[in-house]
Amino acid sequence: MMPLQGYGPSIWSGTLLTINVSLVSLLIAMILGILGALAKLSGIRLLKIIAQVYTTVIRGIPDLVVMLLVFFGGQTLVNQLAEIVGYDGYIDINPYIAGVSTIGFIFGAYMTETFRGAILAVPYGQLEAGYAYGMGRRLVFLRILLPQMVRHAIPGFGNNWLVLTKATALVSIIGLDDMVRKASLAAGATRMPFTFYAAVAFMYLMITTVSVYLLQWLEKKYSFGVRKD
């Protein structure tokens, strides 16, 4: 990669880290999203309130602010806790863990809304049919609700995924060596910032383009047999 002055491999390793951060945060976001959606739809008042506060607060604050709060605040919190337990040393929060958990936590709130909508879109009669067959709540969830809500969840899920991937650029601010930070370092060394940020922009375009096609394919696959009029 001549135009990249030998920094190609470095950017590429950053790209892999970006993809890694995206996928792991997506996993966390999906777990939180399912839990949040179930909490919102459960009859238990306390769970409902907690889920409501979670989604409201997260959607009212910029990602960057949440990330800085977790990164700097979490650092202080961990060390204060360690002091209470009687540990004298200084604990450094790993930026990877801070980044992945923050992005997962933020997008868990968006996933909660997506999954809640998808669950509500599954006709209630189908769940009743499951109960009539003698299935328990867990079995109805696994065999009827989950497979059917996937179709309704895919468009929203896809949107969230695209926004999440782009949000991973923020982890460079808290010092994680993703492709944005690799590009910053290379830009500083070569005095060619435009070239390197353009390269990173290109990689993001590739990731989002491939994602869009994969999501279209998934949507088709899960809408198999659904009539369109």
């Binding site: 009212g60 602010v65 601010i173 944005v180």
Partner: protein
């Protein structure tokens, strides 16, 4: 928590609120005009020399992170000597101008897509009625198509404005003292992350929910005819 730090630094936060509100309102204002023009061209023209560059513009700004776009403009422009030798450099060396420039283009691209969708979905009957009344293309656009599609675009457009508000937090990365920038200054001066960032979060939430409230009222007013009966209050 020690809130005296926040009270003593209220001035920085005030400055931050001003900058954030200025960035949001100006970028949304310019983005709106960019979007209207581009969406109208996209839905009316079949000339590839016009539509392809617009599609590329929308594709680029929606497919890459805002942070990268900002870096490309703020740090990237300095790589080109021909820019440095023109009057353009007077603007592009200013962080404030770069942020505004990128935010306006970014929200312009997202909004183009929103408006394009709602223009396409104009009910055929409305267009036919306009034609039957003898309106010219331009008059039909101004009186029928645009007002009708703005209404339908409002919920999605409202979301985009909120996203832009949150996007402006990135301006703090290129030295601008917006709300996030104020929080970062307070945090680094006093090492008080909770107070600094929780205050910023509360400020953003206040602005977000005020905007949501205003948007809801606008929807109630202009989309009253689409609501279930009984729930429309002006």
């Amino acid at each position: 928590m020690n809130y005296s730090i926040i009270l003593e630094n209220a001035g920085i936060y005030w400055e931050g609120i001003g900058n954030t509100l200025e960035l949001v309102s100006l970028s949304v204002f310019f983005g709106f005009f960019i979007a209207v023009i581009l969406a109208v061209i996209l839905t009316n023209s079949t000339n590839l020399f016009l539509t392809l560059p617009i599609r590329a513009f929308v594709y680029f700004f929606r497919g890459t992170p805002l942070l990268i776009q900002m870096f490309l403009v703020y740090y990237g422009m300095g790589q080109f000597d021909w820019i440095k030798s023109t009057f353009l450099w007077d603007y592009f060396k200013e962080a404030h101008f770069c942020a505004l420039f990128v935010f306006a283009l970014n929200t312009g691209a997202y909004t183009t897509e929103i408006f394009r969708g709602s223009i396409i979905n104009t009910p055929r009957g409305e267009i036919e009625a306009a034609k039957a009344a003898g309106m010219s293309q331009l008059l039909m656009l101004r009186r029928i198509i645009l007002p009708s599609s703005f209404r339908r675009a409002l919920p999605a457009y409202g979301n985009e404005i909120i996203f832009m508000l949150h996007g402006t937090a990135l301006a703090s990365v290129i030295t601008i003292v917006d709300i996030t920038g104020a929080a970062r200054i307070v945090n680094s001066r006093f090492y008080s992350p909770y107070e600094a960032f929780v205050t910023a979060g509360l400020l953003y939430m206040t602005i977000t929910f005020s905007m949501v409230w205003v948007l809801k009222r606008m929807e109630n007013r202009w989309l009253a005819h689409l609501q279930r009966n009984g729930s429309s209050r002006g």
